[in-house]
């Protein structure tokens, strides 16, 4: 057994014991009725602990800041992965009347709405956090803490919503003793992670202006970074809040909002830019060496009628590096200039270091929704590589001088129809990919759908939102999973999923040469990271979140969710 693992086991076991012990007084205050002041607990997760590589716990959306979803744990390996066993399964529910629901734990109710209309069953569509043996789970309007050893619910928090698009929630963030998460009606909520009691909530965007919020917040020191989504031609922005108080530190728009913004050159008018979209709605990566938060941005709006906004439309569909201390955009690279297909570039960027052309480089890579794979220098933003990884992609005519795909205007929505691949969902989407430094491979799903895309609103003013088009979906020619070599952008291996369904989950990879993901038929699968050979699978249903792994009491767990049900596998 490797030395790092032993250390992880010891620290995790200690933390778990302490935490479990400390949770008790909060649930049974009568037992601690002495006049002695409660001893100050060490914070659950000081932000200073977030800079290391992914090891014993899973403390942030991507596990660590790099976005690689590469676990250094070594207990589960190619030889024993087939012996994974179900440790427990648990269902989360949103019932919040006293004593209701199978979870049975105490529910705290918050929120500014009436909470009296249905929002559907809760579904875990984001990352679950694990720290000290406790799992922190979110869905739209809900947060739960579960004991990672047996899935028992410790607390539940229910948010009475005012509305907003309830499409999903991508997870929470821990800052010291607080669990922070977004709600569909645009609040950032801070809970006491030990009890589920609310610390505070603040509004982060306007529900009246049709913003809705799904993103897992990203904690960097004393900043918590959040963004929202919008389908109604509103400007996108990234914001930083004080994780202690919820006070706004800065707001950085991703489209020009003033006359003096140099990016206005890429828009026909300030009015167009101010309604131009670009919401950076997926959690990005963070580079502690430069202090840059690197994120992908949303598509320009109106989405399908580019006639409303001739120009490249900066900073939509871009990778942008934002200085966390100030919100300043340090560099940007547009992966889809003037998008007209709703293919945002809000895919999780991945940071790694490698030698490129004989030179050591600090890199950022992304497999974009538009079907192209990009590698840049993450310090300078210098473009290094573009490669088409979507094998059916047909919307661009080669590359521009700057390496970005040159859109074929004939492949926008047209009155007589254009045959376009991919479909609206893209070749990839928000589901996070993974990178394994041992194999040097970048793992992603590849959707291969086609559509006939029609312009139904030829108004020269353009349409609004996602309006003005219709499409006929023609099905996929063979959805696949592939391992991209970042030197060439070519697939080192590629597996076509049998059957014709699509896939909606993310990827995990490990230092023992494994890749975990969901297939297109409800299987959680383990593959050999080197060649894609299947090593284990279990059919639990369509995996709704990316699989993840951590240690509790020295045992390595593998966690995945299917809707409202969590499945926890372990190697005994």
């Amino acid at each position: 057994m490797n030395r790092h693992v032993i250390r992880d086991i010891v620290t995790t076991r200690l933390a778990a014991t302490v935490l479990t012990a400390l949770l008790l007084p909060a649930q049974a205050p009568a037992q601690t009725s002495t006049r002695m002041p409660a001893p100050a607990l060490p914070p659950l997760l000081p932000p200073s602990q977030l800079s290391g590589p992914l090891a014993g716990s899973w403390p942030t959306y991507n596990g660590d800041y790099s976005g690689r979803r590469y676990s250094t744990l070594r207990l589960i390996d190619k030889n024993n992965v087939a012996h994974l066993t179900l440790a427990w399964t648990a269902r989360v529910d949103d019932q919040h009347e006293a004593g209701a629901g199978p979870g049975g734990a105490v529910t705290t109710v918050g929120g500014e709405g009436t909470g009296d209309f249905p929002t559907g069953n809760p579904s875990v569509r984001g990352t679950v956090l694990e720290v000290g043996g406790i799992l922190y789970i979110t869905s739209t309007d809900n947060a739960w803490a579960l004991d990672g050893r047996d899935g028992r619910e410790l607390w539940h928090y229910f948010w009475k919503t005012r509305g907003g698009t309830h499409i999903g929630n991508r997870g929470g963030a821990l800052w010291n003793d607080s669990l922070l998460f977004e709600t569909p009606d645009d609040y950032l909520v801070s809970l006491d992670a030990r009890t589920g009691n609310e610390n505070w909530h603040v509004q982060i965007a306007s529900l009246d202006e049709d913003y809705f919020s799904t993103m897992a917040p990203v904690v960097v020191g004393d900043h918590v970074l959040v963004a929202a989504s919008n389908d109604s031609d509103a400007p996108g922005f990234l914001q930083s809040f004080d994780p202690r108080t919820g006070k706004l530190q800065w707001r950085r728009y991703m489209v020009p909002m003033t006359k003096d913004d140099p990016a206005l050159e890429t828009w026909p008018s300030l009015d167009a830019a101010r309604h131009g979209g670009g919401n950076p709605w997926t959690p990005g990566a963070y580079d502690p060496e430069t202090g840059y938060y690197i994120t992908g941005t949303g598509n320009p709006t109106p989405s399908y009628t580019g006639v409303a906004r001739p120009g490249d439309n900066l900073y939509t569909c871009s990778l942008v590096a934002v200085k966390v201390s100030t919100g300043e955009i340090v560099w940007h690279y547009q992966t889809s200039p003037h998008d007209t297909h709703d293919w945002d570039s809000a895919q999780t960027p991945i940071l790694f270091d490698a030698v490129i052309n004989g030179r050591p480089r600090k890199l950022v890579a992304t497999a974009a929704r538009n079907g192209y794979f990009f590698v840049l220098d993450r310090v300078t933003g210098e473009h290094l590589l573009t490669a088409r990884f979507g094998t059916t992609v047909n919307w661009a005519k080669g590359l521009r001088a700057d390496g970005a795909p040159a859109a074929d205007p004939g492949k926008s929505a047209t009155i007589p129809g254009s045959l376009v691949s991919p479909t609206e969902g893209g070749v990839t989407n928000f589901q996070p990919n993974a990178f394994n430094p041992d194999t040097g491979l970048f793992y992603t799903h590849e959707n291969t759908g086609y559509q006939v895309l029609y312009l139904t609103d030829p108004d020269p003013r353009g349409s609004m939102g996602l309006g003005g088009k219709r499409f006929a979906l023609l099905g996929a020619t063979g959805n696949a999973f592939e391992a991209i070599d970042y030197h060439t952008g070519k697939a080192a291996w590629r597996h076509v999923w049998p059957g014709r369904s699509g896939v909606g989950t993310g990827v995990l990879t490990t230092a023992t040469g494994l890749v975990f993901t969901g297939d297109t038929n409800g299987n959680l699968v383990a593959m050999d990271a080197g060649d894609g050979a299947f090593l284990w699978h279990t059919r639990i249903g369509n995996i709704s979140n990316p699989p993840e792994t951590f240690l509790i009491d020295g045992r390595q767990y593998l966690l995945a969710a299917v809707g409202d049900t969590l499945y926890s596998f372990v190697l005994y």
Partner: protein, 293 residues
């Protein structure tokens, strides 16, 4: 570069702009709780008249921006956050004498509180009709010409690529008559499915066709073959309804037992057309099939 575009299209003001979006399923624009209660019809009617007289020339009959440079009010953050006219009245009463964007100014309108309120109610009433995903309110359906191809070229393409499986006088006889319109015809043949019939909604977003059934032949270790309708296949299992009757499923994880799984998807040929099909060829074939009345 960054000059505001001055719309000069008088004809675009009313229904023309909103067009066909109405044909999509009339789903609520937003979460039920976000929907404002409908305003008083008499107030809205009064507001509509005031709007037509005072605002329409600049902001458009459909509120989506007009000839004299007024912006789209249906996506205006001022309008969307306004509750009861408090924000709209600020703009109306004071105007925008020195617009930030460098566009034309908006004059101030010395209207009564009741009149500004009526205009605000009217604007909110139109806003209520916005469709899902930020699409504009439905307007009059506009006839758009999908038939831009050359029927002769389409016939040649058909002979070379389709005639092996279809015939214009046989299975595709009268296909144009069976289709709601040319768009429905095109969707049908490119996907390889029956067209949306006349009277059906050709503007709905069509999903992946599922017909006709895919079959599978499973060859077992001893050479026996089982054939039937494919029920499900992944990398680990294949299951079918056998021709001989009954449901069968087989593990296919490399152990002896299943030697081969051969899937016959009759639509695979159609999907393989897609990779090579250009838009001009597609439009030509549609123009040709449109002659098969």
């Amino acid at each position: 570069m960054a000059r505001p575009a001055m719309p000069t299209f008088l004809c675009w003001t009313v229904a023309l702009g909103a067009t066909l979006a109405l044909a999509q399923a009339p789903a609520p624009a937003t979460f039920p709780d976000q929907q404002r209660p409908a305003g008083d019809p008499a107030v809205i009617a009064h507001g509509r008249q005031l709007y037509a007289v005072n605002c329409k020339a600049c902001h458009g009959g459909d509120l989506r921006g007009g000839d004299l440079g007024g912006p789209n009010l249906l996506r205006s953050q001022v309008v969307m956050s306004d509750q009861h006219g408090e924000a709209i009245s600020q703009v109306v009463l004071k105007g925008r004498p020195d617009p930030q964007g460098g566009g034309p100014p908006m004059p101030a309108f010395p209207l009564s509180t009741a009149d500004v309120h009526a205009i605000a109610e009217y604007i909110h009433g139109v806003l209520r009709d916005k469709q899902r995903q930020g699409a504009p309110p439905p307007g009059e359906r506009q006839a758009l010409n999908v038939l831009v191809g050359n029927a002769g070229a389409g016939r040649r393409y058909f002979k070379a690529h389709c005639a092996g499986c279809h015939s214009p006088g046989g299975d595709l006889r009268g296909i144009a008559t069976r289709a709601a319109d040319a768009g429905a015809l095109q969707d049908a043949w490119v996907a390889g499915r029956p067209p949306v019939a006349p009277g059906g909604n050709p503007y709905a977003i069509h999903t992946d066709p599922k017909t006709p059934p895919t079959t599978v032949t499973v060859t077992l270790g001893d050479g026996t073959r089982v054939h039937g309708r494919l029920q499900r296949v992944d990398d680990f299992i294949v299951s079918l309804y056998a021709d001989s009757g009954g449901y069968l499923s087989f593990i296919r994880d490399g152990r002896p037992g299943v030697r081969a799984v051969d899937i016959d998807d009759p639509m695979a040929a159609h999907r393989h057309l897609l990779g090579a099909l250009t838009d001009p060829d597609m439009h030509d074939v549609t123009a040709y099939l449109a002659t098969l009345k």
